[in-house]
Symmetry: D3
């Protein structure tokens, strides 16, 4: 049976931590959907189209990675694409507490889908999209924290 | 002396965790006020009236439970109804850090009122109102997480 | 029905935090058993007899407090003395994680007994018995951290 | 390429949490080695032979699960059996902090091996081997927490 | 070489914890800039001018303390005023996780600047600006939590 | 006035994290005592003499660093050498909770001494002496985690 995973997130914007995670998970799955959530209850910094395009650029060389956008429950997107795994990274223990709640609730709703976690690399552990947005907002250079070859600055409105 | 407790919260919406907590605390108190906060600095998902009505429905069979709404400091509501205990549940360690700050500050303002805590049950530990709202927002079915017999969906505007 | 609580611990030695907790819980319970555990898997710094005597001294003026020693499961001691509550204090979030595990397991074994928690006071939050033992071991003066009127130093062997 | 994982631990004793974890991970791996560590710096409650035998009993019906004992670094055992994944469960945020340190250090020593994590189920979240040992030591009944069909009590010396 | 530190924050409003921290850090630095951030991505409760004026009032008697407002990256403000240290207080472990991310990212951007931390005093540990704002919003008296001699109430619009 | 700090620890053995911390703190203090505790209640893996000698080797090129051993309270050692600062590193939030307790208790005993904290560098965050000992105990190579130029292996008995 094919092993299909969904890596859901806002990717607002994509970071080197996201990139590293997907690449390290490649050997475990036949297909990984990087799924850009359109969460109706949340304002995004970058337009969904830009976030999707950056991800497509980052994972262009990886045929088993597909970038898609979705709305609704992550669990429903998994069912739609036939995924039985949700892939997530863990950086800090506050991350963990949040992820545990979401992961256990998802498992209650759909017992056939497991969330599995990879650790962030030490050099990516302090960085998340929220900090990258803060750097951008305050006129700093986000390039050390985002994947090489994509230009976030052009995306700022 | 009567033992009176206030269980303050947003209850936006009430969860099975809230229901379980109040029922388990019944034998400890002569009266429990389930107090729905009208926090001016916070937007609510469900209108206050709905949140109050659901709670009244949930605790209809329990004569020692009273559902009320309040604004202002929780401590002031306690004074008003003659409560000397604040009742709270603890699910996660981030909950705890937040609750400890609020509880210790309340004790500094009013030393005559103690906050006491019950643990969530394991099956309710992953769930809070915020996750229930996310499920609703994304078109999922919240019914496994809310008390039996109330219909949250009707409350959605 | 009488409200009976057990406050279990090693009390190796008793601290001002323990003292404060019991006194603040007095109004909630008809009787509080301060129960000194004889945990076979644990080495103690002070002999059980000394720990018990200090506690008796500390709570001498409180007729609803009884000091006892016990071995075996805390739950079994509760059953023996007819207690339906276990009383515990919470200082830090690592405390909380440990207490949640123990409390939820106890509830699985005996659903009729609830663990309830009080917060430490801010000035007692940094102190526990282990730090007091370290102070003693290194020749420091533990008296600011232990109840007035008891002399820990005499107990050191 | 075969996907081989090592699930290392003391299993002192095996819990329902361990059992659940391996069974949920079966579909992700072609082979899972449940590897019982002989950590020279640690005293064990149950003899290694007993811990191994219980695990063999628990996973008897699962041909892709192999139970082995090992000493030395987990990374070295992975190399020996050709595993490129280490499998671990996460219950609490203190678990997480510990696991992150170990996992990131293992990755520094051997970049070719990834640690991946599954969440404990809510009903297993409060329980670990250390609590089970405490229950046994204090004369309680550990059977709700250990896999059905194995008899821990016979193993107690 | 002069030892210059920046203590950045929103100070919305200043608390006794902020005051205590700066005073305790005075002997370590030749100059401390209390730097009021104009974070474009954040709404403030009190106008910047008021926050700055209160801080000037609080630190009036301390010639080595300078109050300034800034926008942009904290690191850039440090460079502008020649500071090689960022000063921060730590109250809780969720504070810590947040501060570690910010501090490690700042160090990646500018290796010549170190963040150093002081602990909150036990009596200030439960209080932060957010709780003070909540007290004000709900009609409570914030004066036990803000420095003596300043009148927050006048600042409320 | 001279700024003197004590960096207390077991250094069992010294890690790259310890080395990095002291070097980054050099510009803040006129003198740093690296103080090797002889904690009577704790068994050490390496003999005190070896731990001291490794530290002397590591900090040989830094005239403002002095390596000493001490027993008794850290606070008493600070008084003896005229230090008014205790220097500590923070890696994880469990570190933080422990350090906060010790630091606040030390401040209660001796208000004239402040504990100040530096963050670990991301690459050192997962590593502490306990993990290094585990690597050694299990036959692994600890050299990536200990300062260049010292040979831990010779110290193993």
């Amino acid at each position: 049976m094919q092993k299909v995973a969904v890596f859901p997130g806002s990717f607002d914007p994509v970071t080197r931590g996201h990139e590293s995670l997907v690449i390290r998970a490649l050997s475990l799955f036949d297909k990984i959907y990087v799924a850009v959530g359109q969460n109706s209850g949340k304002n995004h910094f970058f337009a969904c189209e830009k976030r999707v395009n950056w991800l497509k650029e980052v994972f262009r060389g990886y045929p088993s990675v597909e970038v898609e956008q979705y709305s609704g429950l992550t669990i429903d997107f998994c069912r739609k694409v036939g995924a039985t795994y949700i892939l997530r990274g863990l950086r800090t223990s506050s991350d963990f507490e949040f992820e545990r709640s979401i992961g256990q609730v998802n498992k209650m709703i759909e017992p056939g889908i497991e969330t599995i976690f990879f650790l962030s690399m030490p050099e990516h552990t302090p960085v998340n999209s929220s900090i990258v947005r803060d750097i951008i907002r305050n006129g700093g250079d986000p390039s050390p924290f985002i994947p090489a070859g994509i230009s976030i600055r052009e995306g700022i409105e």
